[in-house]
């Protein structure tokens, strides 16, 4: 018998990857890793949208996920440029070393 994934499975997978992303942003200190965790969050959002879109037979979720991808690319470009900029000043991409501005 073939395994049939249901709405529940997809949503759980998406929720788990989202939580991994959130957890990563909260605990990791390397800016590049933080950034990858944010991308993970966005991709789990995409998965959620596509799942709902498929189960509701509605195109809106697909369209939304396209735009999320495009925005993620724009964020990637800007984010990597900013991280590079920080690296030029600090010779490090550790966010804990970004401490010239007091909290």
């Amino acid at each position: 018998m073939m395994f049939e994934p249901t709405l529940f499975h997809y949503l759980t997978l998406a929720a788990m990857t989202f939580c991994i992303g959130v957890f990563g942003v909260l605990v990791r200190r390397n800016a590049i890793t933080l950034f990858m965790c944010i991308e993970l969050m966005l991709n789990s959002v995409n998965l959620t949208f596509i799942t709902f879109s498929k189960y509701r037979v509605d195109m809106d979720g697909h369209i939304f996920s396209f735009f999320v991808m495009a925005v993620a690319a724009a964020e990637a470009a800007v984010g990597l440029a900013i991280i590079l900029h920080v690296f030029r000043h600090k010779r490090s991409v550790n966010v804990d070393e970004a401490n010239r501005l007091k909290l």
Binding site: M2, F66, A70, A73, L80, L84
Partner: protein, 125 residues
């Protein structure tokens, strides 16, 4: 489409993995081995390697190219659905409108390209 419809693809994938894995394993186990220092060296077109491959740094230029690629690559996710729906739109008499929408989109991208070009984003040196 059910996931069972992809079973042929899965079977093909499994067979390919098994065949490749078995051949690699057999060669690794039974092939003659004669390790020398020269053979363990990283391959750099025959010349002596300079430094360790771990410390190789990539120029930031690769990053520039990669980012430009991503930005202009992602326009396809908007262009392809548009192209697929083009015929329906044309039949419905919205062809000019659909064309105009995509024209505006590509024009905006072109302005970005002009900016990048003039700022030297496409120069290697």
């Amino acid at each position: 489409m059910q996931i069972a419809d992809y079973s042929a693809l899965m079977i093909f994938l499994v067979i390919a993995l098994v065949v490749a894995g078995v051949i690699t394993l057999l060669a690794n186990q039974f092939g003659p081995k004669n390790r020398t220092r020269q053979k363990a060296m990283p391959y750099e077109a025959g010349s002596d390697p300079i430094g360790s491959p771990k410390q190789t740094r990539f120029s930031v230029k690769f990053y520039m190219i990669a980012i430009s690629f991503i930005l202009f690559d992602l326009e396809t996710i908007f262009v392809i659905p548009w192209a697929v729906a083009w015929k329906q739109n044309d039949v419905m008499g919205h062809g000019l409108y659909a064309f105009g929408v995509m024209f505006v989109f590509v024009s905006i991208l072109t302005i970005g390209l002009v900016y990048e070009w003039k700022q030297g984003g496409l120069e290697w040196d």
